[in-house]
Symmetry: D2
Subunit: 466 residues, 4 copies
């Protein structure tokens, strides 16, 4: 396909928003919206805030802006548009994250050294690619290309979330306690007691089903046999985790996986990430704890969902509580069973009803307590915090790594990581679904990660939590 | 229970081998045999060979001798014998491997610094504990204690295997190429072409069944649903792996898991562990390769099973071959389906028929090519080399960590490791069974680890291997 | 002393430049000039360029701006001005470099995480402190305070140099090859042959003499006995170092100190820092070399002084050349012996005549070839590149660490570092003198460091260089 | 030269001890004595004790036995004896320490992996080389060869000392507290108060003088000018160091060099190496301290010389005491000025008179308190503990690295290390002299290293120590 970049015709055509253009117009609109939201995340951040990398796992906001643009340039424009002229050929290496198939990559741990190109140049790069993409989408694309664009948008939503987690890490390292979004301290609210929902043993289908977008790793849909299990009706709270801490949670090796215990000792973990204690307060006290948030340092609220724990901490807490983490299949079965209370007239909106929760869409970027009028069934499945499962991230039966560079998207990470489910308060609502598989190393804590308990069918002595 | 250590009465009683003593005698005999075999592994090794630790993952032979003894002392004698007097109280810390519940441990990475106690003292410690154990077993023990003794014997068999893998690593680092057991160079033999055995989709029971000994992690027995799969009738050979290497296997990131590729680059892996190349030979040549073995440096035999590869290498090879590794459930289903050709008259011997293969019992300590008269069904399931599966080592549904120190035996290692199945040429035949789950980190190469291919049901383009 | 910050009176008084105010006015003028030059170094750099830290040894420009301000705040204003109100109390920790006596320090390796305070805020902090300082100096200060202010100005000049070396390192890591100051490629010029100037054995006085400013480590003035030595009349050039490289310099352990050879191997050094080679060119070729400069990537000029080598490389080159590095005493004796060609009418200007050379004052920030009309005596002593000496940085006889925080300025670094002499093209001319002792670890290369040869009196076979 | 190894003739010739054979016989006798003493150091150590390496800086006893033999083989036999047949050609690499000129080296940090060759084989290797050497020396050698043999003997004496320091480190890591030589606990004795001996300013000659053996780094003899200085009449004691500790010595950064303070924090230093405290005792208490020695764990004796401190600790102590360490020139001037009380009739014995002190010859391997009848002048100059000086280890003026492999002996280590003087209780008396320069990295503590104070001429406030 050839696009005349000098012509504005297609842009005008696009702006007429002719419903006859069907899916292409809808995709273009969605493209515009997702891309705008990414840029909007800069908010009041300075150029300085956008360039620094606070650890090898995190990337600067500017890099995220550029890399998401590189994705469309590399996998759509360069592949599909014959007369495409790149904004800057050097970006092909600078902003390639990990696609060996595409070519060389600037080292991940050095992303924070890229004071050039400037934030302004990267913004111009975004604009340039957006212009080409608008024209391409207006001209109409094949279903295959459409699929890559759709993938690019979900890829960008993933980076929107990373922008926030990486920013939170950066700001947390600054003794000045910078505030990204305003947010008042809130008082404690009553959390309903944790209850268990039981699912009898059965052969279930899990994995993605239907025509909507999903990542390759969510399929193929397949059968798993699950023994009877119970799953908690809400997330574990800060208050409950403080009980674990007060009971010596961080100093009892019997509660921990061996690798987790090694982490506790080597990194001197004593509390979840971003928790800080007044020096005056005793270590096991429920008092005197603060939490760094994207609204600055705030008093710890016991009623809020526990957040920023590693898999190891989640697992140790579950052991202490006489329970365990759910498997990802259990979680998906439970999440898929939550009834949709109202019929939808369009496929696009159907999921939105189900996904009640707190998402990045709220602009709060912090998990909230479960509401008092919580459904009798399961609450907090989507949004708030990602829920660690006991499932290592591996391929589903029958999974084949897609051919080409896109094959590097998910498949090559299928070792040493654990699956998290449900999304968080920094995920976009439209990005999530019950089959969504997120994955991180078990020692990672800078994501908005918490947990929900599960247990086997046998009645378990759980005096501590009841 | 009280035992008079000065009296030799029970020893005599034991030596009468009175069948009326039933299981207790049998356990005592087995105790004697297993313990003797451990000591026998010293062979012609010098005291110097027995004290050195060649890397943090490995332990000196002397430490293995002492630690296996500590196991019986700690979990049997100290717990059960009221008048037990320890050989040396310092050993409680020195030879505790990783049991936090029991107490402090001498650091794992420093085991090679223990020139004292001497090998002679450790041997005396073994003898002392053995004397007490003989008396205890002769006096008769409860089923609970019997179970711990049985566990201790399987524990000791695991360490017998580690003695050999750790020793191989130590000797391999020595430019003098020491020989542990004599072994002649052997010529190539024809390997039958790899074939596939297909299993239709079904709900299977896996996990240990029956009264025989098994580790806690082999249960509970539970159901898994498996889609139709095929599994290779034999192991991958050195010759096949050389083809992978000749095709650029170690320099093509597209074949590797991301963490595996990082290993390849950081550690400059270019071949399996213990392979060495004549400098004159080209790197992709099938010629000029040697292999360090427990019989010294020998020419690489193409017909032998591939050995000493990491999970990453096994996975990359499978990707290159257009196949995949089997899951542990697939492996177990396949291994359990191999017909037993002759009926047994005793429970103890039944398994022996099935476990045809090369084990430590042969004293060869090196895998052998599949025999020409290979069964039409599956070959090499047991012995020769441990087979990497695609399954992370996690708890089976319903698994509960046992209470007390024994709970640390297996449960706390259920993260970041991969399951291997089938045993190797350095495992004891009597130690293995179809439900046995071995586990190592995916980058480990010093175990006798190889692979068998599997694939999904769809006909796969596998020109390279056919 | 109390200063009314609301009043502008003293500022006006200062601007009258009344010669009757004597030294205080002169110091104020110097204060203004030095402080302005620091700010001016920002040039066309973006905010992003000013916040990033490219390695633990380097600091961001913004941090340098703040730390030099902190110095005056901490050691002058807080100590001397009763009504001083700090701009922000958090800065006391954030911008303390290494003064344990003053209090806690933000970790050196994390300086690049400080996106806040913003560059704008740091500039305002500078302005605020400058206002207070202007008033204080206008009000007149005691000789003791004057001495601390003078120290602060020389401290600031040191940081001016570090701003440039740290910036060069940052920009060199960016594949876009950013340009800080414009600078054209220049052609080769003829370098006069290296000659030797001989100094007979004698007892010399070295160390600072006179009333002018000097650091504590330049004294006490003391006697050293020097055997007869010869010192080269000019610096070693890039061309000469290429000969060393072509002769296998980086692959011959016999030329290197043991610690230096370990560096060569561990860090894979093959050329001076910032040198790059066209991949097409052979490694030993004189062709195809480029050099990253503050004017971007340029062809290597053989006639220019060698720069950005470690002590180890300087020492290895000297060994290869059959010579050695001068001791700092030899260098100082030589530098002090260069005749001043014109009489001065004031003590302050006297040194300027002698310090012919290329300094930061030129704004070129790159060393230049020795001029054809080079004096028959010693050339390039000051400016261009710091000259590694063979002298470890230790206290002079009779040196006592000053009391208080200022005692941490120099004394505590007197181990493991080597002395460099003479200043470089990024030093201010007014900052240098013959007794000036700079010091860096022997593996440091990001400073503008080169070398001059020396030799003992015996005629040395030096065919290679002659 | 050719030696017939089958003939025993020369051996017999040698045994006649014919004085007519002159120097060769004398050298042979000394060869025999030094080599025997090395072997004798094995004492009651097991083979296991002799093979293990406890840290990269240390080497196993067996390695020392082999390397010192390799020295004679490589630099004498292979170079001089035409028909020399090596015991095992593999040893050329295995036991080369760091001579790049000679060839490849087995990695230093892996020396502890060499369980083969066995201790028995290494002893046979020693015997074999000794036989050849006996024959060579009996046959008579040129002065040049004689010099190399002499160097080899002093080299061996250095390794005798390292055998003991490395062994002490190994045994100290063993919780069983092994004893190498018996040694009773001793009671405290009165230590005479520290006094100062003053030397007026002067131009001195230092460096080796005369015909006796010395290392290349002790020359050339040259002049140094020294300002007036005072030096302490005895070593610093454990008791004095405990005062430093009680005064917060390890927690006051103002007392430390910056690199030293970093060591204190990173390595959590709280006391000299090998000191241990009863947990019951308070940290600043003089009570409750023990010290690991080659005779096992013993109560700390306050009267003994402080030992096993790093340069950083020595320097910090001196700062705390209001004094400083002597320079090596000051030490040598002082040590050379001690009068020889009796005339010698032979060059060989002359030094012995001067070298009163405790040496390895005593077989005690532990420093002793200064005796009550201490000379009014300087005590403890030789033996007991090596004395850290403030002098970095660099070349003397006019020093040239010798040609060939021997040039690697000392010259290439002339960076980053500090000079120690005087020898220790594990040095051989015949190995020491006033001009001897030992050198170690400033953080090294496993040598028998202590300190003696010095100060500038001004009367210093030294209330703490007086």
């Amino acid at each position: 396909m050839t696009l005349d970049p000098a012509s504005n015709e297609t842009m005008e055509a696009l702006s007429t928003d002719d419903p006859a253009q069907g899916v292409a117009v809808s995709l273009a609109a969605r493209y515009r919206e997702v891309r705008a939201r990414t840029l909007g995340l800069r908010g009041t951040l300075s150029e300085e805030d956008c360039v620094v990398q606070s650890m090898p796992d995190a990337s600067p906001l500017k890099w995220h802006l550029a890399h998401t643009t590189w994705f469309f340039e590399t996998f759509v424009l360069s592949a599909e548009v014959d007369d495409y002229r790149t904004f800057d050929p050097a970006y092909a290496v600078l902003f390639n994250s990990y696609y060996n198939t595409v070519g060389e990559q600037y080292p991940r741990s050095d992303r924070g050294l890229l004071t050039r190109p400037s934030l302004g140049e990267v913004t111009a790069y975004r604009r340039d690619v957006d212009n080409w993409m608008e024209k391409l989408l207006a001209a109409g694309v094949s279903p295959d290309v459409e699929a890559v664009v759709e993938l690019g948008l979900h890829h960008e939503q993933q980076h929107q979330e990373l922008i926030l987690t990486d920013l939170k890490h950066l700001l947390s390292r600054n003794p000045l306690r910078p505030v990204y979004v305003p947010g008042a301290e809130a008082s404690e609210v009553e959390v309903p007691p944790l209850q268990w929902k039981r699912y009898p043993e059965a052969l279930h289908w899990i994995g993605h089903e239907g025509e909507e977008f999903h990542f390759d790793n969510e399929g193929p849909r397949h059968r798993v046999f699950l023994d009877t299990f119970s799953i908690a009706t809400r997330l574990v709270t800060n208050g409950e985790f403080l009980e674990f801490m007060a009971d010596g949670g961080y100093s009892r090796p019997d509660l921990w996986l061996a690798d987790g215990w090694a982490c506790v000792q080597q990194r001197a973990w004593e509390a979840p990430l971003y928790w800080e204690r007044d020096e005056a307060a005793g270590s096991a006290s429920r008092e005197g704890w603060h939490q760094m948030t994207l609204s600055g340092l705030r008093d710890l609220r016991l009623c809020e969902p526990l957040c920023h724990v590693s898999y190891y901490e989640a697992d140790a807490f579950a052991s202490w509580a006489g329970a365990r983490l759910p498997s990802e299949a259990e979680w998906e079965v439970a999440a898929s069973s939550v009834p949709v209370t109202a019929a939808d007239d369009s496929g696009e909106l159907r999921l939105d009803r189900r996904l009640s929760g707190r998402f990045a869409d709220d602009g709060r970027f912090h998990p909230l307590p479960v509401s008092a009028q919580m459904p009798s069934e399961l609450a907090q499945l989507f949004g708030d915090v990602w829920e660690w499962t006991r499932s290592p991230y591996v391929a589903y039966p029958g999974y084949r790594v897609p051919a080409g560079a896109i094959g590097e998207y998910n498949g090559k990470f299928m070792s040493n990581q654990m699956v998290l489910r449900g999304g968080s308060c920094v995920s976009s609502r439209s990005h999530l679904r019950a089959s969504y598989r997120n994955f991180f190393y078990p020692d990672a804590r800078w994501q908005f990660s918490g947990l929900r308990l599960a247990r086997d069918v046998e009645p378990v002595e759980r005096a501590k939590l009841s």
